[in-house]
Structures are given as C-alpha cells and as structure tokens.
Amino acid sequence: MFKLIVEKELREIIGSTKFALTFGVCAVLILLTFYAGARNYQVSQKQYEAALAENLRQMEGLTDWMTVRNHRIFLPPQPLSALVTGISNDIGRNVEVRGRGEIGAEDSRYGDDPIFAVFRFLDLDFVFQIVLSLFAILFAYDAINGEKERGTLRLSFANAIPRDKYILGKIIGAFLALAVPLLIPILLGCFILPLLGVPMTGNDWLRLALVIFAGFLYFGVFLTLAVFISALTERSSSSFLMLLVVWIFAVLIVPRTSVLLAGRAVKVPSLDEHASQRSRLAAQLWSEDRNKMADFKLEKSADPEKMLSQFNSFMQKLADDREQKMQALSKRLNEERRNREAVRERVAFGLSRISPAATFSLATTNLAGTSLDLKEHYLNAATDYQQAYAKFMKEKTGMLLGGFRVMAFRNTDGEEPKKTPINPHEIPPFVYQPMPLKDVFNAALLDLGILLLFNLIFFAGAYAAFLRYDVR
C-alpha cells in the first residue's frame, strides 16, 4: 500500500508538465551555479597568482632586506567558496605584513567590483534557499487539499487504506519525486568542477556532499511544511497563500530582522571609536618618546657605526615599548569588541534560527568555510604568519622591523662594490589552511540538527493534521 502511494506520487509529479518546466529551470540554474562558480574560481585564482607575482616583483632589485616594504599575503580562493560564497567576497583578501603591529585585511572582491555586490553571486545557497524552497512549495501546497478538491481523496479512502500509510507515502513519494531528479544536475555540476580546473580535495568533496545534504534537509522542511499546511486547510488557494506568506517571512524577513534586533539589543563599539582611542594613545606615547629622544645622549665614540647602532638600539627599545603598550590597548579593545560582537552574533543567529532559511545559510557557510569565522580564521593565520615573517626578517636584518630606525648612507667617490640582490623567494610563503573538517562540521552540526528538527516537526504536524482531516 505504502509503495503504491509512493509510486503514484512519483508518477503523478514526474509526469506533469509543471514538473517538466520547473525542473528544467532548476536544472539549468544548478548547472549554471556550478559553471559560474568554477569560472569565478578560475578568475580568483588568476587574480591571486597575479597578486603574488606582483608582491615578489616589488622586491626585485632590492639589495637590502631592511628596505623590504609592503610585503603582502593573500587569501587564496577556496574551491567551495565558489559554490557557497558566504562572506568570502565581503572580507579583505590581502594583508600587509610588517613584522609587528596589528594587521587588517583589505581589498574585498565586492570592494574591487561593486557591481557584483548589487546582485550578489549565484551560488548554491541562493539556489536552495530561494529557488528550491519555492519549487517544494509549488508541488506540495495542494498535496492534501488538492486531492480533496479533485475528489480523489474521497475515492481513495473508500478503500481500506490506513491514513498513516497514506500520508507517509505522499510525503516520501513527493520528496523522492522532487529531490532525486535534482541530484542529476547537481552530480553533473560536480563533474564540471574538475573539468574547469577547480582542484577539489577529498575534504572539499565531503564538505560539498554535506552542503548538498543540508540543501535537501532544507528542501524537506518546505516540503513537509507545505504538506502540513495543505492538511490544515480546505482549499489549495488558501494553503498556497499561507505558504507564500510563511516563505516571505522565513526567507526574507526573519534573517534581516534578527540582525537588526540584535544590533539594537547589543551595542558594539565601532572601529572608528577604537581607532580614535588608539591614535590618542599613539600620540601620547609618541610625545613621551620625543621627550626621551630629546634627553638621549650618545656615548662619545669615534666609530660612527657604533654610534648608529647605539642610536638604533635606543630607538628599537622605544619602539618596542610603544608597541607593547599599543598592543596591550589593542588587545583589550579587540577583546572587548570581539566579546560584544560574539554576544550580538549569538543573539542575531539565535533569533534568525527560527527561520529555516537562516539556519540553512548558517549551516552551508560553516560547511563551506565561508561563514563569519572565515575573517577571524584568516586574520589569525595572517597573525601567525607575521610572527614567522618577523623571525625571518630578524634573521636577515638583525632587528625587528616595523619600528623607527636610522639608516646610514655613505657617500663614496669610487665605485661601490656591486651588492647582491635579495632573493624574495626566501621569504617564507603564506600557506592558508582552511578550517579543519572537524571544526566546520561541529560548527554546522547545530544548524543541521535544527533543520532535521524542522523536518520532524512539520512531518509530525502533517501526520497529526491528516489523521483528523475531513476527507469528504
């Protein structure tokens, strides 16, 4: 009986013209998403390689490591960020590494090409969140009341059918009929990725599989919700209208409103306020150091090199002290800001999770490594790299860079012995490690669980409503 109902649903949905049309559109959109993602990855990879080359080119011809300026590191494009963009296009991709001090990322993709920010990129998050949720509604809004309107419910229940098997068969049949065909363009899309040169690792494939799994969980939420509402209403026009309202709230209103409400509820000091506090302290420290510099007396010596070294040591110490104080302030301010941000984030995400769309978005961006954590992860990696860079530069120059120093240039009349240019390739490379699978999975687990819970709640709702449904 159950198998028969599942089979009927499959045949009824797949055999309809509505399915052929909507499935065609969805399939094209999914394939386009993979194609556009792969092309974007290629473009980003080229930009990344060009930026790396330019960074090294700037150092060409330098003969002294002390003169190395503006060494930059870049966030390499990640294969999955092409499919689930998250915040990857909003955060800065390059960081200037000076050897000490605070670092910040600059030049976001949207900053460089604002036109993309207007309509955002086509990605799997968008396709599932907007298109496929509507696809689910379009096919399931009349799952029960449509059968009643056609008289087939009455005719079916004139037979010895248990209601539980019927509703179970309908939901599972509809899910199979709608979700399984979508796997075809998704699998084709997966083939496109390596063909277009996107280097997917085993880890990436696993994460992509989890993203798709989350997508189907989300699809299931709207499918079971549609069946639930269909079992609560007498007319299919009413259920369609109700579902449309729920969709607008869930997809468009709740996520935005939750961020606004969290912003109102939790105040986070702005970056400008912090910058102002930092520059006040910097000015104060600089003023103090100026006095110290005025009081500084060089020990008499005939050797100018020794005097220079003495002065530089003094300046180095001042810079170190200043740096230490600045870092202490920055650390305190950043920690304070991060704590406030974390509270705001928790409030915003907590509120938004009443919407399956927001929950899905949080799950997929976590899995793809393009969630809000990406920025922190990248800056942490950059900070770690800065230490390695500082160590390297100290080895090369004998001192920490980034402070104030005096350099002596000697005028020589004769020919200066030709100096050997530095080899910029000696600089330790910045190797970005994406967030480990275990971490991203743990971060996404809550949202995957919530999506599953939504499925169970709406399924139970549809089940309970149908057991009491008037089939006449």
Binding site: G151, T152, R154, L155, S156, N159, A160
Partner: protein, 247 residues
C-alpha cells in the same frame, strides 16, 4: 467476475438507527434504518441536504455516527472501517480522478489500492469498454475527458474492485441521456451479478426504472420506503411531491 452473496445471510448494506448530528448542531440524519440485500438496488431520493450523502459518508466511515450504526456485510463501519471498506466500492458525484494519468493508469492505481493486484491491461480495457468508454480514450490523460467520460471511468474503478456492495452518490448527475441509459443497463448487469447497490439520486425517473426499493429522505429522516411491487401502479413522482410537500 464472480460476486458472492452476503456470506453470513444478513443484508450487505444495513443502516440501523443511523443518526448524525454535526458539531454545529445540525441533525443531518435522524434514526434512519434500511437495508440492501444482494441483487438489490436501493434508490435513495430526496432534496439537497436531505441526508443522502451523509448516509453514504457514514457507510464509508468518512464521518462517525452520533447514534446507531452502518454495517457492510455485517461489519460495523465505524468500528472496523478497514475491513468494512474491503466489501464496498464507491462512485462519487463528480469523479475527477488524476488528470495527468490516463484512464488505464487511473484504473490500475485504484484497483491496486482496492487490493486487486492481478489485473491485466486487457482486464482494464474490457471494463472500460463495458462502461462505454471509447477505446481510443483508454490511453488518454483524464484532463481532456468530459464529465461523462470521467464518470464512466469512476464506474469502471468501482466494477474493478469487485466488491459485493456498491455505493453510488448521484452517479447520473451530468450524464447525457445516452450515457444515462447505458448506466442503467450497467446497473442491471451489476445487480444480476449479485451486487447490493445503494444509490442516492435526484432522478426520480431512473430510480423508478431501476430500483428494487425506493426510499425518500427528508430533513434527515427516511419518510417513505417502498419496494418495486408496492410502487406498482403508483406514481413515484406524485408520491415524492407529496412527501416533499408535507411539513
């Protein structure tokens, strides 16, 4: 198709003090009792809202009785609905079926839903031809069917279930005179096969022509019930109007 008589010697369809009061207080059926034997057609006449469809809904356990019981082959429908439904086939007033399925596919689905899994395509063709559906329509989708063609498909589904009892809710509404005539012939043959048929209808002319027993419902009560023999020489139209006119 071999149709059995009532296995236990009791009527195949039986209503005993069947009463239904809806939640809004409306008394749709008021202590109605009647029975339909094998090889018997019972025509239930009455105006809209008289309680005819409510009686059929109670037999199908779409609603539960407030009092009394409906029995199919001795099985109390609200107590053992699944067993009772195995013994009954149903044709509703507006048969819609699945518009994206062909007539054959609709038949196949509903036959299997009724527990009949061993029918062949030839069986489906045979039944569809028997109810008068042209052969070229057998493999066409129902969305292009007229009301009469859909009604014939619905009747074919009921025949395929091969149940001893058949419930017909306004089966002739919307049928043209030719289709109506063919339908009456079909009911004759079903009766000959031993079926117990309960039919609600507004069609006094056809009820008189085909029914073995005629019952008139008014405001939820069975106000008149006569056999064909008792009606001989009487005008059913006149009787109907008389009962309808009574306060």
């Amino acid at each position: 198709m071999i149709i059995q008589n009532s296995s236990n010697g009791h009527p195949l369809l039986e209503a005993e003090n069947l009463t239904k009061r809806y939640e809004d207080g409306v008394l749709a059926l008021d202590h109605v009792s009647f029975s339909v034997q094998p090889r018997q057609i019972y025509a239930m006449l009455g105006a809209n809202g008289a309680g005819k469809t409510t009686a059929i809904n109670l037999f199908l356990n779409f609603i539960e009785p407030t009092e009394g019981e409906a029995r199919i082959d001795g099985i109390i429908t609200h107590k053992e609905p699944l067993q009772a439904k195995q013994k009954v086939a149903f044709v509703s007033e507006n048969v819609m079926l699945y518009p994206n399925f062909t007539a054959m596919q609709n038949l196949d689905f509903f036959a299997r839903l009724g527990g009949k899994t061993n029918y062949t395509k030839d069986d489906y063709h045979h039944v569809l031809s028997r109810v008068g559906l042209q052969e070229e329509a057998h493999n066409k989708r129902l969305k292009g069917f007229s009301k009469g063609m859909r009604q014939k498909s619905g009747i074919a589904i009921a025949i395929l279930k091969d149940a001893p009892a058949i419930l017909l809710d306004e089966p002739t509404s919307g049928l043209d005179p030719k289709a109506g005539f063919e339908f009456i012939q079909l009911l004759h043959s079903l009766r000959e096969e031993g079926k117990a048929i309960l039919m609600s209808t507004h069609d006094i002319f056809r009820a008189k022509e085909i029914a073995d027993v005629v019952g008139i419902m008014k405001q939820g009560q069975l106000v008149m019930q006569r056999t064909r023999e008792e009606l001989a020489g009487e005008s059913l139209e006149k009787l109907y109007m008389e009962y309808m006119g009574k306060a």
